[in-house]
Symmetry: C2
Subunit: 416 residues, 2 copies
């Protein structure tokens, strides 16, 4: 893509009221726009990153047998009253409004209730189970404070999966598969090394739920990590009994600040019982369906990547979710050099390399600073020297290391 055709521009400064590092960098790079605290628009570069994260998550959900759907944002009061989650005293993040008829409606902050209620249409017998469904859905949550940029929004994109199984055993088996898939997702988006499966409080149905926590100064949680076993315990459940149950030793644990990037949760049969989702088992008995729910905040994950992997110059995207694989910087006004850069751009595109081509008239210093801010993994620098040598300077955004390569190697490197 030609950078001159992009309507967004980089900015020197983020808005004064923006205190979160992730949003500061993303706004400065033209990835997002702040509409209000906790509500951000995703501009062309930002949308490219989001789509890549979504595709990674989608691949992993599909490989678990997940079927994709999209539920509504509008929610019926009566449904949520059945599980006692309508009242603001019970759930304090509802946005609510009213239809013209006067009937109250809510805006979806979660979807266990409507999906479980809908399943009554499709699940009647053990033969209809298991069902695994997931969606990418814009959640609305009336957060009291929204000061963490895209890491905690009033409006944010979430992947939520729900499993409906015939037994606790079938549930457990799937739950473990999701755990593995989640770890793979965090690995694929570049957070594998610093993300830990974390034991957290389980609520009414189970002793523990599981979180996936990424070590991050801007995180909101405190966790205790056993780095050898690669698991952690959330401070909220840390006590001697829990440690002994998990086979952990206090002296192996290191305290860290971390941000939750995913969580998985077992409801047992309780939610199905409340909503009347029962099925006939093999013995002909009517029993409630076992429910699990599995969330990843997609926009939050993007924010965590920015905070965790960026440096003082700007964003550092992993190749897997970068908006482009390479950033081609033309640093000459010489017509011959420009023609060469155009040629390289076309050749790379032809070879399936996603390239952002900085063909603007800006000065070299500005182009370098913009490229470092935008954080595309590889920078290809074409200046006056390039014409003679026919060697291109290839710079790795993360390490800063440069090498000189010919066109053939450039293609091989960036395609790989």
């Amino acid at each position: 893509m030609l950078q001159s055709r992009l309507f967004t521009k980089t900015r020197k400064d983020a808005p004064k009221d923006e205190v979160a590092l992730n949003a500061q960098l993303l706004i400065r790079g033209g990835y997002i726009h702040k509409e209000m605290a906790g509500a951000y628009s995703y501009l062309p570069l930002g949308l490219r990153v989001l789509d890549k994260i979504k595709n990674i998550v989608r691949e992993e959900m599909n490989s678990l047998g997940g079927e994709e759907l999209v539920m509504t944002s509008l929610q019926r009061k009566e449904l949520w009253e059945e599980t006692d989650r309508w009242d603001d005293e019970r759930v304090d993040v509802w946005f609510k409004s009213a239809l013209k008829s006067g009937a109250e409606v809510g805006f979806g902050w979660s979807h266990e209730e409507p999906i479980t209620d809908m399943m009554k249409e499709y699940v009647a017998s053990y033969r209809d189970l298991p069902v695994y469904v997931y969606q990418f859905q814009t959640k609305l949550r009336n957060e009291l404070r929204a000061k963490s940029g895209i890491m905690r929004g009033r409006e944010f994109l979430m992947k939520d999966m729900y499993s409906y199984t015939a037994s606790e055993e079938a549930h457990k088996e799937f739950y473990d598969k999701v755990t593995a898939a989640y770890l793979k997702i965090f690995e694929r988006v570049g957070l594998g090394d610093i993300t830990y499966l974390t034991f957290a409080s389980g609520g009414a149905f189970t002793q523990f739920s599981h979180e996936f926590q990424t070590v991050l100064p801007a995180g909101e949680d405190t966790i205790y990590i056993d780095s050898k076993k690669r698991i952690a315990v959330n401070k909220e459940v840390l006590n001697d009994e829990v440690l002994s149950k998990l086979g952990l030793d206090k002296k192996d644990l290191v305290e860290e600040t971390a941000a939750e990037v995913g969580n998985i949760f077992s409801f047992g049969g309780a939610k199905s019982e409340q909503l009347g989702l029962n099925f006939k088992n093999e013995d002909g008995e009517s029993v409630p369906v076992t429910l699990g729910s599995y969330g990843i905040g997609i926009t939050r994950l993007m924010g965590v990547v920015v905070e965790a992997l960026g440096d003082e110059k700007g964003i550092v995207w992993p190749k897997s979710i970068a908006p482009f694989r390479a950033h081609l910087l033309l640093l000459s006004e010489d017509a011959k050099i420009k023609a060469l850069a155009n040629e390289v751009y076309k050749t790379l595109e032809k070879n399936g390399v996603e390239v952002l081509y900085d063909d603007r008239d800006q000065r070299a210093g500005e182009k370098f600073a913009d490229a470092d801010l935008l954080g595309i993994p590889s920078q290809i620098i074409i200046g006056n020297k390039t014409a003679e040598s026919k060697l291109f300077e290839l710079k790795d955004r993360e390490s800063g290391k440069t090498s000189e390569v010919n066109l053939e190697h450039l293609i091989a490197e960036l395609r790989g």
Copy 2:
């Protein structure tokens, strides 16, 4: 895809409160689920159709130079007050709520205001123009009545594009290109023959806006069509002066009921003036940017296709947006035949044909009825006779015509 793996099932009857034909058929087929009047979830089959429509629209928007983004649903009251579109007396479809701080917020029913406001960040000079941006966004509109299924929702998916140009001439040129792209979109989704560019009322800024109207009994508009010139006039603006201006003769016009599937609109510089989006032109003068807006209701379009092309047996999808290209029906319990069907399924998938394979135990009559309800363009019927003849019965859903073809021809036909 194996139909036995799909969690949705067909239903004999739609919910009693569902009066719209499009929603009745889509609910019965398991494409959508009704959450409340005017709010429908999109289940796996429905989501496949939506994604195909989106991809067609995306291709055409990109070919116009459009840049994709996604704005927020949450809207600031102060912004919409600047253009006098916050008050319920002025705009009667707002859903509104309040932040914890007490500040009122709205949910986006349209996005001219926030996008135009955002452009102040990026547009300062004629060099920054033109800008064409578009999004697929879930709109929320508090409709008094929502009885048209997915053709008029309280929550629906819309593609809205906005053009920012430096002059009325540049605007006009782009506006005409969008007109052509829209006609191409309606052609590609199978509505070309019955969709007309229609002159409608223009509001404060221009004499006319343009609608794209599809002839349909369930439509809400009355239009007068000149079928030779392939244009129409909305009843709301029909008078002798308009006809003479458009060079139309009353006796060439045929009255039809129609549904609006798209509309395009010129704002001139008025909206930019209200919001302060000005740019320095080549003479150094500060002038307001010219705005155009271009909408297609994506979910509405899906509903119109169902109503316009369906028949008494169910849905008839055009190939371009069908959830699958072919529906493979296994009508035998013989192990040899079943193995043959499995083989055909795998061969088709390997050749890039999207196939729904009805591998369920249902009776033949039920499978035929379901296939006709689901409306996948081609049905491949494999029964006891197939094993001997090695010829497959290929049935066209739309015409009902059948032919017997060998595997090679089957692949060629369905891949084409």
